[in-house]
């Protein structure tokens, strides 16, 4: 044999504890020769005597005494590996890396992270806020465990689970509050302010206006919904924002919020993760918590 085994360490530890081959073998639920052989094997592998065999009693050699302490350390560490596994199975512990798109993150995360931390006190939540393509990439690379994005993603290696539907609302300057609600098509003729390239929400807004890509008239590309709303408030145009963003973003801006008539613009927010992820079960559980948090909030 080339290497020492944990089994040998267990046998040796029992032998050291009992000071007797027969009783140690009993404790290990094996026969005495089996234990003798493994100890002998271990001594051969190590190239040093562990046991001083007297006729009537055995005694650990000096090295044996050192070795048994090491053996105990090793066995303890091996057992802890099992504990660790059990702990990581029963409830979600350790690091959970969530990616969220920027048009959701500021409005959803405060509550969700709070709820998750309450539910899973030992969970160490990391948040990554960026646009969908990057989230998907990072998910694929194993840098994220899950992401909250607008569905569908349509990557066959991803599991998708819808969380909630989210309407878009029109944001106009306060003085236009009583103006007639523009149709989707007529938005094309207005000065429509949008997020910069890369944000899915930009595409979704354009889509609602039946525009495939950039609008005909110039747009100012903002990097956040806050900026958009502030710009609207300054009279620079109109914009769309997700319903969820309304409470936060219109608090300190003199703007008018109007819902569209049917068919209202809407997007589905969902959670995605690698289908192969062993966290699938827990992620499904987490998705429930997120859904509930979002429901109360929005």
């Amino acid at each position: 044999m080339i290497n020492i085994t944990l089994k040998q360490l267990r046998y040796f530890e029992a032998l050291a504890r009992h000071g007797h081959f027969g009783r140690a073998a009993d404790a290990c639920a094996i026969s005495q020769p089996a234990l003798s052989m493994q100890i002998k094997e271990m001594e051969e592998v190590l190239g040093a005597a562990l046991i001083e065999r007297g006729a009537r009693q055995i005694r650990l050699t000096h090295f044996g005494e050192v070795a048994v302490e090491r053996a105990r350390d090793i066995l303890r560490a091996a057992d802890e590996l099992g504990d660790l596994a059990r702990a990581s199975k029963e409830r979600l512990v350790g690091r959970l890396r969530i990616g969220v798109i920027p048009t959701i993150a500021p409005y959803l995360l405060p509550k969700v992270v709070g709820d998750l931390s309450t539910r899973y006190p030992e969970l160490d939540i990391h948040v990554r806020e960026t646009v969908t393509p990057k989230l998907i990439q990072e998910l694929r690379d194993g840098q994220l465990d899950t992401a909250i994005v607008a569905l569908p993603i349509s990557e066959n290696w991803l599991a998708e689970i819808p969380l909630f539907e989210e309407n878009f609302v029109l944001v106009r300057a306060a003085k236009e509050a009583n103006a007639p609600l523009p149709s989707a098509d007529s938005l094309r003729e207005m000065r429509l302010l949008l997020l910069e390239e890369g944000h899915c929400f930009r595409d979704q807004a354009l889509s609602f206006c039946n525009l495939q890509s950039a609008p005909p008239r110039e747009v100012l590309d903002a990097s956040s919904l806050s900026t958009l709303v502030q710009m609207v408030s300054a009279g620079m145009g109109v914009t769309l924002i997700p319903e969820m963003a309304v409470p936060v973003e219109t608090r300190s801006a003199s703007v008018a919020i109007s819902r569209f008539q049917e068919p209202e613009p809407v997007r589905t927010i969902g959670m995605v993760w690698r289908q192969t992820s062993p966290l699938s079960g827990q992620l499904r559980e987490i998705s429930e918590i997120v859904r509930r948090s979002a429901g109360i909030d929005g």
Copy 2:
């Protein structure tokens, strides 16, 4: 299977390192299925997934990442056990418990301990000084590794190795320096001072005088050779001391030292240890050093 094995940890570590079943198997010099099976087995035993199996690439689960660190710790500790064994084989290290009889210890130990420490810097020498029966008992109980005593001991479980011969000399008051040398028999008629009961040297001295047990005339039982010499110096009688004790004990006493004529009284000092001791080899080596130290000294 009931328990995880070191082999599995090795395979798992290789898999974590290479991120690829085939290459990890190569590194372990086994076939890919063998590795797959062991990893699977390990996951079943732990009850948790270690590996997230993607089609094109594999990735450690969160638990897997924790586990591989533990695995590395465990494997390192196991390897160190081998190192430890090698280290403890090549040269004598750690604790060495030496027992020495009182009529030898003060004259032999200073030099011997110094020489041993020089020769084996990592040796932690413990000295026990007491009478032979206690030394033998402690040797038997494993409280001592070796003892330096007067031979023979004649216990069949002991290994005995003679170190040197030691003559006895007569100690008389200084004024008696020129008196004729008494015969062994005539010592019986003199006031012979001896060590207290239990010291082998007492018995050896009595034996030289052809006395089986206590002498006919009253003796004062001293507890050390120093005391004996001081008593002689004070004119209380005569005594015998080992030659080796002469330089130390007569330094500050006005006594006369006389060697006996042939046949001189003599005893053999030797080293003993349990025949079963795994230190036998090193103890033999040590006995050489002790012999040399004693030779230069005495």
